[in-house]
Each structure stands twice: as structure tokens, then as C-alpha cells.
Amino acid sequence: MDYETVIGLEVHVQLSTESKIFSSASAAFGGDPNTHIDPLTFGLPGSLPVLNRKVAESAILLGLALNCEIRKFNRFARKHYFYPDLPKGYQISQYDEPICEHGRLKISTENVERVIGVTRIHMEEDAGKNIHDARTRSSLIDLNRAGVPLLEVVSEPDLRSPAEAGSYLKTLRQIVRYLGISDGNMEEGSLRCDANISLRPKGQLKFGTRTEVKNINSFKFVERALNYEIARQLSILKGGGQVIQETRLFDSANGSTHAMRSKEESADYRYFPDPDLPPLIVEESWIEKVRAGMPQLPEQLMEKLHSELGLSEYDAAVLTSEKEDVEYFLACYKVCRNAKASSNWVTSELFGLLKKEGLSITESPIAAADLGELIRLIDDGTISGKMAKELFEEAFSTSRSPKEIMEERGLQQISDEGELQAVIAEVLEANPGQLAEYLGGKEKLKGFFVGQIMKATKGSANPKKVTELLDRELNTRKSGDPQ
């Protein structure tokens, strides 16, 4: 029997706000243990939560980007469990009234587009971290992360393969980065993913029994963990067994999953509305304000690059995969107005050198406007492509503007017709023998003259212009022959 895979993802997006979701303590990543704390983060008696409205704004922004309905009347709920990294003994989250619902996300997997349902997005606080020190046999707690804002994005069980799950996650990451609400860094835990996965006989409508795989904390592990789990469930089902509904932990060391707790053991979180936080009312005017400030999303920019600027779909996709890349491209294009050249320079020359030096595009030694200027200089014939490449490399290694280097070295191409005509005349004058041979029919000597002209101008003559003017001069001599 053939089986179909059904996957739904729960993604935790850590927001990059300055302060925590319910207090003014810093929400920055890292820091010495227990330095980003205050009475609330520490769960001290008498402390109270106060909502950071930036968090709600980020939730609305993501909700709009994912075509969600935004809830007007929001409540926070307490989710109870005891764990040392949870200082209050409960996590403030949202329960049956999430801020965003009924959204969708378009993904493309191996050139096949699909729309994945987004069930809900809700706001909640992160927990701290427990660190177990084997040497001293002690457990240490760092509460820097406790209270850092999270958005939990829950998808419908619409994903049908690990590859689709991967592209869903990548697309979501791309969007949160475009929106500027999270750095989407999976390795630092800014993006965390739990997967619900089940198999069902092809053609069957009813879902099979699912397992939840937790602790998938790197992009490269998403497909690996899901493939492992599919194989595991498949062998149970093919052997006539039944999958048990349970939570399983992914172990990145050996790429397997193992049982953590069964449904029966699942905790009763005793959710109830948090009486410390009044309902959050999201007015239509607030939503409109957020919508007005929404940056362009990858899908829109791809469309613009392809349809308006004439780039290939492939180039448009490459340039829009990261927000910073397309921003760089657009800034470069703005100066030179040559989309194709901008795309080529950014994706080949610039990406190549950045990769070699291990730099990100925001650390590029060449500013986007300077690269645009360089392209403009090629296009108006001031420099040759070859010179441009040299200037680019030098500018990259010295962090100077290419134009500045060009001017300093006097590297401008000679395109002035009068000047070039004089040089051509000189060269022909100096090589009467070759000229005679040429006029006698040995036309490949034209290359010799070009070489002499370039030599005489120390390579700065505009080769296109040289060829053009030389042809004209030689033709004149051939037909008219004044001598």
C-alpha cells in the first residue's frame, strides 16, 4: 500500500525587540548569565507584566503578511507547569484567542507552487535556559532568555513532504526577515520548529495517528528529522502495527527521534486568562497603520524584478532570497538603471568575493551606490569591463569607492574621437610597411594596429571606439588613397 505523508509545523519565531514581552529588561541574545533580568523576569513576588506593544505590532505585521484575520479583542492566558527555567511557574501565552488566524503562505518546492494554510499566530514569552554542569553535578539557570517575545506560527496539516516542510520554513524565515521582526537565525534559536507528522493510505481522507517531533533546531535537520520519522512510522504501519500518539525528541547526533512522552502523560496546563493583563484591543486604525508601514515582501519584489525590470525568474529569485541582497541590488540599480548588469555584478562578482572573504552583504566593503556608479561608468564608455573588474577588486580590498580609485589613477578610457584619431594617425604613420600590406589585402593586420594603439594609450583607449575609428580611417585610405 502507498502512504501519503501529512505534516503540520509549529514554528516559534523569536522577535528582535529591544525589550522583553512584558518588561523593560533587554531582550538581546546572549549576554553574561542572568544579566538581562528584572523583578518580573526573575518571577519576584509583587512584580507584574506590562505588555510591550511592539510585540503585538510584530504579530499584526506577520499576520497581515500571511493574510490572516487579526483579532480585535485579545487576551493573554497563563499556561502552568513547573520547571526551573520558568520563573513564574506559568508561561504567559495566548490560548483560545490568538491574535491572528486563518492565514496562508505560498511556497514553491522544486518549481511547484502550493498554498499552505496558517492556522494561527499567537504571542507568548520564552523560557530561560537550564544548563547542566556534569563536572560539578549541578544545574544552573540562565534567565536572560526568559520573557523574550515569541510568535508561535502554527500551520495547517497541509504539507505533504519533508521538502515542502523545508521550503515552508525557509519562506517563513524569509518573510520574518523581510518584515524586520526577527533575524530568523535557527542556530541561535530565533527560529524553532516542532513538526506534527502522520501517514495515511493514499486516497484516504482521515488523518493517521500523528507524532510530534520536537527539538529540530537547524535547517539541515528539518528534512532529516522528518525523513527519519516517516521511515519509522512506515515500518510500523507496513508491519501491521499502530503508531502511538506521542511527543518525540529529535537527536541531531544520530539523526533519529525517540519517545519523550505519550498523550496520556501530557500535562494539564490549566490555562486561564491572565488577570494581570487587561484585554488587548486591536483597533482597525492600528491595523491600518501597521499595514501602511509594511515593507515589500519577497513575492512582490520578485514580481517587480521579473516583470518590471526584466530579470529572469531565476535571477529574481536569487536576489530576493535575502532581504539585504535585494535591498543592495535595488540601491545599485537606482544609480545605474541597468538591471541586468546590476544583477550580474551582485550575484557573480560581489557574491563571489563576499563568499571568499566570509562576509555578509551588509558588511560589503563596496557600497551599493558605488557599484551602481561603476556600472554606469562601463555603460557610458568611461571604462572597459576589464578595467571595471580591476577597479572592483581593488575597491573591495581597500574599502574605497571604485570611481575614486579610477580618478586617482587616471584610468579613464579615452573615448574622445579627436584624441583617438590623432593616435590612430600616429600609429599608421609610424608603421608604413604594415599599412601598405594591409591596404594590399592583408586585413588581419588590423589587430596589429589595434594593439599598437592600445600600447600607445597605455590600454586606456576605448576599444570599441578604437575599432570603429580605425575601420573608418582604413576604409578611407583604401578607397580614396590620397598618397
Partner: protein, 490 residues
């Protein structure tokens, strides 16, 4: 000087330099020490208080900017203070020091007042008799064999015995009004959201409200309005204007419609309570008020509703006391679960455990709808009872604060249900979030004080305080101190 006088009178005397802050503070401190058998204070702030008093005398007395300069006050030990221990009368926090001071306390400090010490209470404010303090009970200054009420029993007894001119309490289901009634003093529970809860160690967040306890309604008015107003640290505090409550609204009693709810005058209340409250209402009628019979039909469900809601919130609020970061941690434990269970078993007293268990139960999956959700619906009905009464029938409601006067220590401690019923008349206003005040209106046959409760619509503290001040202009019940209070000569 006479430390028996109301706070506002002492402020006047301080202002005229008739008395000094040092003199006043020394008197309160020495009487606090002389009356240690009452169990009022958990800690005294002697040195700092005297230092502050000396400074206040130097700086000049109270002023418009510093209306409380030179005034010492007592603080229920449920408010965090950055100096000294904040214990909540719990073994769990017996050595706990807070890094910050509660907003309500800070506002009084900013007005020039200073702390005399922290007063005893039922552990985490859970109780109606103060017998649930995990250190020692508080005794009622009118009869030391009797309870002072609770949970703000230490603050109530402190005022009754004149060990402080004003004390802070907190009221969740009656914890200011019930001890005020049993101790023969005045106590105000403001509208929920009026005074910041920041730094108030939470029992039931949707009900807890700080408030003043003092000799007179005018005292409560001054202290209450100085603490009132929006606090950025408490999202449930409300930004509404606060008028000068200590200046009573003129001719407040003329044409005032006093609602008398029939559900509050039932067989279960003692005859003396019924009679004295009735006489109190007549006193207001003499001043031009009109008596209106009203009904608050859902009153009988209030106690049950309260114990579901308050316990649910308490079970959640007290989850943070896990022995991990601060407070009592059980020693010699194996593993995390044992650390939790032993720390909490050792740290909490029986009443706190009972409420945590009740609260955990009513929030559990499968029971949530039947208990917590149902209770929330009934709470809404109780709120609507008050809204309707105030919209259609009356301007204030008058009723007894408690069904009985102070009962003997130990009498109800084995019967939680009987104990819970002591709050039957205070709980409805808490559930509705409306302001209420208890003021002395006489004594029973054992010369134990009886309290008259006035309840107003939300945000109308000024109205009920004005009525209370009008009542106290005509009566002197509030000026009577327990006969066995050591005389000022002592």
C-alpha cells in the same frame, strides 16, 4: 500629644508645630513594643523611622507638596519594601528581601511618610481571623482572646490599639473591611484598579486591592487618594482623575438614596449587628438621606463564586514559590520533583495549601467549565446586580460589614466553611470591583465593635467617603479606643 487622635488631626498639629514627628514616632514605637502580646508587628523599623522623624522635624512639618511629612505608618507585610524583610507571614518568605518597593507604599514615602514596621496577616492574605499567620496570631485589642479579623488583622489591630496613625491593608474578599469592622476602625477598599498592585504580593490578581485603615474616614480619604492613580507598572491600574477625597462633598446626605439590600439582613446575623447597622442608617436618614429597599439577587452565590475565582488565581500566583530562586528551599532532596514538593510542603501553611489545591482543581481540564467558567459567569451577574441597583435605585448601599462581631481565637479555625462565611457581606463588592468602606457604628453586648459598610458605584470613592465623613461628624464610635489600651500616661 495624643497618639489616639486621627491622622488628619495629627497632621494639623505637626503643621502647627504643636507636636514633633520624633515625639509621635517614639510614642508609637514604644507602645508597639509595650503591646507586643497583640502580635501586631512582624518587624519594626525603629532606627530608620526615628531617623526619618528627625529629618522631618528639621525639614518642617507637612506641606502641600509633602502632606505626610513626619507621619509614620504601618504596612501590611504583603507589600514589598526595599528595606527590611517582606514575609507575607509565610515560612516560605521568612527571610525574603525585595529589591523594590510597592508603588502604593512609595507614593506615601514620596508624600513624606515613613514606615514604622510591617504588620502581621494571614499567610499570603488567606484568612479571615489572622490565625493563619505562620508566625503568631494577632489578638483583638478589644478582647485579646478574640481574633482581629483578617487578613489585614495586624493593620486593623494596630489602628485599634493606636500603635500607628494609619496602616496599609489589602482587600481581596474583605481583608480590609472585615478586620476594620472587628477592630472598630475605618477601612477603605477602593475600586479595583484605583491603586496600583505593583509590589503587592498577589493572592488573587483580579480581586486584590490595596487600601488604607485608620481611625477616621477622613484619614482613609487622604491616604487613599495619595496612593491612587495610574501606575505604568500595573496594567490593571486605571488612569482616571483623583479628586481630594479628604474634602467631603457638601451636603452629601441631602436626598441621598441609601439602598438597603434585603439579602444582607438575614437570620444568620447577630441581633446586635442588625440593630446597630439599622441605627447607623437612621443616623444618615436624619441628615436627609432616603432609605430605599433594594435587592442584590445573586448575593447567595457570592461566597462560592469567590472561593472558586480567588483560589484559581491563588494557585497560579503562588506557583512561583518553588524554592528555586528565592525563599525556602527544602534541604537534602533527591531530584527536582522532590525539591519542589518538599519546599512547598514545608514553606506553606495548611490554609494556603487548601486554596492551592482548590484552585488547581477548578482549573483542571474537565472541571474548568463547571467551576472556573461558571464562577466567572456568576461574577458577571453579581456585578450586574450592583450596576442595576446603582443605575435605578440608589446612590450608595448600606449594610453590615460582617454578620458577627469578633469571635474567639480557635472557634472557627477547624471549620473553613464557617470561616469563609464571615466574608459573606464583603465578598460581593470585591467580585463587583466597586469601592466599599467599613466604619464603626456601635458595640454589641460584649462591647465588641460593629461595622457599617457603605458600598458605592465604581470610581465613586469620594461619594462613600463623604457619606462616611458625614456619619462620623455626628457620631464618635470611631474615636473610641479599646479600654485596655495603655493610657497615654503609660
Amino acid at each position: 500629644m495624643d497618639r489616639h487622635l486621627p491622622l488628619t488631626t495629627l497632621i494639623e498639629q505637626l503643621g502647627k508645630r504643636e507636636i514633633s514627628s520624633v515625639e509621635l514616632t517614639e510614642q508609637y514605637l514604644s507602645s508597639a513594643k509595650n503591646r507586643s502580646e497583640l502580635g501586631v508587628f512582624l518587624s519594626l523599623n525603629e532606627e530608620e523611622a526615628l531617623k526619618a522623624a528627625r529629618q522631618a522635624d528639621q525639614d518642617g512639618g507637612p506641606s502641600e507638596e509633602m502632606p505626610l511629612r513626619g507621619i509614620p505608618f504601618a504596612i501590611k507585610d504583603i507589600f514589598t519594601t526595599s528595606s527590611g524583610v517582606t514575609s507575607c507571614a509565610s515560612q516560605f518568605l521568612k527571610d525574603y528581601r525585595s529589591p523594590f518597593t510597592a508603588t502604593s507604599v512609595q507614593r506615601l514615602l514620596n508624600a513624606g511618610a515613613f514606615s514604622l514596621g510591617k504588620t502581621n496577616l494571614d499567610e499570603f492574605a488567606m484568612g479571615s481571623s489572622n490565625e493563619n499567620s505562620s508566625f503568631f496570631p494577632v489578638r483583638n485589642p478589644w478582647d485579646e482572646k478574640r481574633v482581629p479579623g483578617g487578613s489585614s488583622g495586624g493593620s486593623g489591630a494596630a489602628i485599634a490599639a493606636r500603635l500607628a496613625p494609619v496602616a496599609l491593608g489589602t482587600d481581596t474578599g474583605g481583608s480590609i473591611r472585615q478586620p476594620a469592622s472587628l477592630c472598630g476602625i475605618t477601612g477603605l477598599k477602593p475600586t479595583y484598579g484605583r491603586i496600583s498592585r505593583y509590589g503587592l504580593i498577589a493572592f488573587a490578581s483580579s480581586l486584590d486591592q490595596p487600601g488604607p485603615m485608620a481611625v477616621s474616614a477622613k484619614d482613609c480619604a487622604l491616604i487613599g487618594r495619595l496612593m491612587a492613580g495610574k501606575d505604568e507598572n500595573d496594567s490593571t491600574s486605571v488612569d482616571r482623575p483623583v479628586s481630594r477625597w479628604e474634602e467631603p462633598l457638601e451636603n452629601i446626605c441631602e436626598g441621598l438614596r441609601i439602598g438597603v439590600p434585603k439579602e444582607y439582613f438575614i437570620d444568620g446575623i447577630s441581633s446586635a449587628v442588625g440593630e446597630r447597622v439599622e441605627a447607623g442608617i437612621q443616623e444618615l436618614e436624619k441628615r436627609g438621606a432616603q432609605r430605599v429597599e433594594i435587592s442584590l439577587p445573586h448575593t447567595e452565590y457570592a461566597v462560592a463564586t469567590y472561593y472558586v475565582v480567588a483560589s484559581a488565581e491563588a494557585s497560579s500566583n503562588l506557583a512561583r514559590f518553588d524554592g528555586i530562586r528565592y525563599g525556602t528551599r527544602a534541604q537534602e532532596t533527591e531530584g527536582l520533583m522532590e525539591l519542589y514538593t518538599k519546599s512547598r510542603s514545608e514553606g506553606f501553611g495548611p490554609e494556603v495549601k487548601r486554596r492551592i489545591m482548590m484552585g488547581t482543581y477548578v482549573l483542571s481540564s474537565g472541571y474548568y467549565d463547571a467551576y472556573y467558567l461558571k464562577a466567572q459567569k456568576v461574577r458577571t451577574l453579581i456585578q450586574q446586580d450592583f450596576q442595576k441597583a446603582f443605575a435605578d435605585k440608589c446612590d450608595v448601599i448600606a449594610c453590615p460589614t460582617t454578620p458577627h462581631t469578633a469571635f474567639p481565637i480557635g472557634e472557627k479555625s477547624d471549620d473553613p466553611l464557617q470561616m469563609y462565611l464571615e466574608d459573606i457581606f464583603t465578598i460581593p463588592a470585591s467580585l463587583a470591583g466597586v469601592p466599599a468602606i467599613s466604619l464603626p457604628c456601635g458595640f454589641d453586648e460584649n462591647h465588641l465593635p460593629i461595622g457599617l459598610q457603605l458600598i458605592g458605584p465604581a470610581w465613586e470613592e469620594h461619594r462613600i467617603l463623604s457619606v462616611a465623613q458625614a456619619f462620623q461628624d455626628e457620631t464618635d464610635w470611631h474615636l473610641q479606643a479599646p479600654p485596655h489600651t495603655p493610657s497615654k500616661a503609660a
